[in-house]
């Protein structure tokens, strides 16, 4: 291959030009897409909240609460008259098979789980991602501390683990348990005020 020879100074200049051009393109693209990305993220978040909040919800109030030093986002779904219909609370666990899993729990007025949604996870497709399946979710509907132990059967709880995905199932239990704990703390904090 008869390639042109370059002197060191030329190489230096070319590398600088390539890097600066690349940085420029990236900076421009970033600025150009920043607002649309923020908008699309906000929309995505609202859609996720709507899945776990009651369908009659017209207004969502989100607030940050602090439970045991952890900052948690709690959203309250209200109907058009301002009456509270349900709550959504985010719970994150790092105990998943693939690392972090973010759950969004839907709670009714009594603090029982209505449903939940896995917002992001890196569990094994076809195995651990079953924590987001209706079949697995169903067993938590209407459950709270009083009538349920948030542990898999193997650990002495009430949760039917997904076959070959015990770690993911355990992580789900942990996250849901944590979500309920947050909610309880929120309720007691609220009544103290």
């Amino acid at each position: 291959m008869a390639k042109k020879q370059f002197s060191d100074v030329q190489i230096f200049i070319i590398l600088t030009v390539v890097s600066v051009a690349s940085a420029g393109i990236l900076a421009f693209t970033y600025n150009f897409t920043k607002d649309p990305i923020a908008k699309s993220e906000a929309r995505k978040k609202e859609e996720a909240l709507r899945i776990v909040l009651p369908p009659e919800t017209t207004k969502i109030n989100s607030q940050k609460i602090t439970v045991e030093g952890e900052e948690v986002e709690l959203s309250i779904g209200e109907d058009k008259n301002g009456a509270v219909l349900g709550y959504a609370i985010q719970s994150i666990t790092k105990k998943g098979f693939g690392g972090e899993i973010i759950f969004l729990l839907g709670l009714d007025l009594e603090g029982k789980i209505t449903t939940y949604n896995v917002i992001s996870h890196t569990e094994t497709p076809g195995l651990g991602d079953g924590i987001n399946s209706e079949k697995f979710k169903k067993q938590f509907t209407g459950k709270n501390y009083e009538n349920f132990t948030f542990k898999v059967v193997k650990d002495g709880g009430n949760v039917q683990a997904i076959t070959a995905a015990t770690i993911s199932s355990r992580a789900a239990c942990k996250a849901l348990d944590k979500g309920l704990k947050y909610f309880k703390a929120y309720k007691t904090q609220g009544s103290q005020k």
């Binding site: 291959m1 390639k3 042109k4 370059f6 030329q10 190489i11 070319i14 590398l15 390539v18 890097s19 690349s22 393109i25 990236l26 693209t29 970033y30 150009f32 897409t33 649309p36 990305i37 699309s40 929309r43 995505k44 094994t124 497709p125 076809g126 195995l127 070959a164």
Partner: protein, 201 residues
């Protein structure tokens, strides 16, 4: 060397997965479900054509000594721009492809084709090479994903295709199953080629 030749070679003769054995890491990681092949394939075709085009365009001003860093900067810029634009304007596609896009940076097919082809060939041929390699990659992924998903999860493209009491071989969707399937695919490709050669004699 015709342009069609550049296109076709990636689909069979120089298949990126089963012949050149490039890009194994993201392949084995994401071929657990057949549907992933579509997402991964589409993003690879897009980035591969783009990076081949740019690198071929500038091939005469990239010094040989520093070509690898230059290629990497170009590829990463390309992938990031694609990532940002998809995220901003096509949230649905981004949702489906989002997890694959960062994986493309580490996909050696892209760098491999820049090094082996685009840096020493004209623009149009490089684009053809990119399309062909991308298609080859996609069908390879689809084959692996299909075998692994059906045997491992009993579904194809998310649909139940086996009877409910079909014994699922969970190992197939774990990493080991990826290697096993890939091994059999390679053996199959070799066998077919051998038979072709013998017939040619």
């Amino acid at each position: 060397m015709s342009l069609t030749n550049e296109l076709v070679k990636g689909i069979w003769k120089q298949h990126p997965l089963f012949r050149i054995l490039l890009g194994m890491c993201p392949t084995l990681a994401t071929s657990t479900l057949a549907v992933n092949a579509i997402g991964m394939g589409a993003s690879v075709i897009f980035v591969l054509v783009g990076s081949n085009l740019v690198i071929s365009l500038f091939r005469n001003v990239i010094p040989d000594k520093v070509r690898i860093p230059v290629f990497i900067v170009i590829i990463c810029t390309f992938v990031t721009v694609v990532d940002l634009f998809l995220h901003a304007y096509t949230p649905d596609i981004y949702k489906a492809l989002g997890i694959f896009i960062p994986l493309i940076v580490v996909n050696c097919i892209i760098l491999g084709r820049a090094e082996a082809f685009a840096q020493s060939n004209p623009v149009l041929a490089s684009v053809m090479d990119g399309i062909g390699m991308g298609i080859g990659f996609t069908w390879g992924m689809l084959m692996l994903g299909t075998i692994r998903e059906i045997l491992g999860a009993g579904t194809w493209m998310g649909m139940q295709v086996t009877s409910p009491d079909f014994p699922k071989a969970i190992v197939m969707i774990l990493p080991a199953g990826g290697f096993i399937t890939l091994g059999f695919m390679l053996a199959g490709m070799n066998k077919i080629e051998l038979m072709q050669k013998e017939r040619g004699k």
